[in-house]
């Protein structure tokens, strides 16, 4: 079977039926039955590095899509300008995020080479949003990469509207893989423990790893926070996890 894939900018129906931009990286061989992955970009935006993550999933035989969560505020803008605009506007509302991920999941299920399974992965603010999607939508697997404020609340007075989600652990619809840095403060190892305990109490399957010598954003290859050892092991765990839960 061919290992070819195509990667391109497309339009999908997001929350409320809004047309939003998205980046699709998907296998070409229609004989394949591939799992799907919704990649939720980090707070710095819908950038080249996040698109590379989608292509990496396609290289490994998955259909992947990155919805541009800032498209409504900043259509056509560069990722950093769009992120600045979204930040000034208070960030992405939770309800809209869930609708955009639902639209992206529907897109993945509609592909000819789809096996019907859809997972989600998010980084940084997207880690929180990955958990949010997994407690709001029927999914098959979720990965939370160092998402802050799943546990705890941001300091008072901040314009960004994010609240804690840990109380919704009983609604988690699928297994969760959590990848965190021991040197991170948001989320701190204590926050990770609170989430771990809540999922255990709710009887939800989950697998958490906290890497030593790594802090926030250790997967970010273009930033000083990059930690190859943690990132390489994290990628291996992601593919093992999706291999278990997103295969036909």
């Amino acid at each position: 079977m061919s290992d070819a894939f195509i990667a391109e900018t497309i339009t999908i129906a997001g929350h409320g039926g809004d047309e939003i931009e998205a980046y699709s990286a998907r296998v070409i061989d229609p004989e394949k039955r591939a799992g799907g992955v919704v990649v939720i970009h980090h707070m710095p935006g819908y950038d080249a590095q996040t698109k590379e993550i989608a292509r990496n999933f396609a290289y490994h035989g998955y259909n992947a899509i990155v919805p541009n969560l800032y498209y409504r505020e900043a259509p056509g803008a560069s990722p950093d300008d769009a992120a600045a605009t979204a930040r000034a506007a208070g960030g992405v509302p939770d309800e809209r995020l869930v609708g955009d991920v639902a639209g992206a999941a529907e897109y993945l299920k509609s592909l000819p080479a789809a096996n019907g399974k859809v997972g989600v992965i998010g980084y940084c603010s997207g880690g929180r949003q990955s958990f949010l999607a997994a407690v709001s939508l029927p999914l098959d697997a979720a990965v939370d990469c160092y998402g802050a404020f799943v546990v705890g609340t941001p300091p008072e007075g901040m314009p960004l509207k994010v609240g804690p989600l840990v109380d919704r652990a009983p609604q988690l619809s699928c297994p969760l893989l959590g990848l965190f840095g021991a040197e991170d403060k948001y989320p701190s190892p204590e926050d990770v423990k609170v989430l771990d305990d809540a999922l255990t109490a709710a009887g939800k399957p989950h697998e958490f790893h906290v890497y030593d010598n790594a802090g926030h954003a250790f997967f970010s290859v273009n930033r000083p926070a990059y930690r190859p050892e943690a990132a390489n092991d994290g990628w291996a765990k992601i593919f093992a996890f999706y291999g278990q839960y997103l295969s036909a």
Partner: protein, 86 residues
Amino acid sequence: MCTYVTETVAVSGSAKGPDGWFRVTDGSVYFDHPVHAPQEHTLNIDFLAPGQGPSARVAVELTAESARALATAIESVLAQVPAGLA
């Protein structure tokens, strides 16, 4: 960490971007990951004109130390302005 720490402020003045000068109306000040500066976290300031779109933006990413020095310099200069001018 992703601090989310952000303050927004109404500003009045002008800034110069790639397309020349424009009037700015809003500012965002936050301590978070930079796009370009070689630090894990920086004090970032965006001067914005939302009415002219997302690209009407002048951004700086400063180390915490240099941001504090800048704030002190701004206060120092304003304190030296003759009475009635500022």
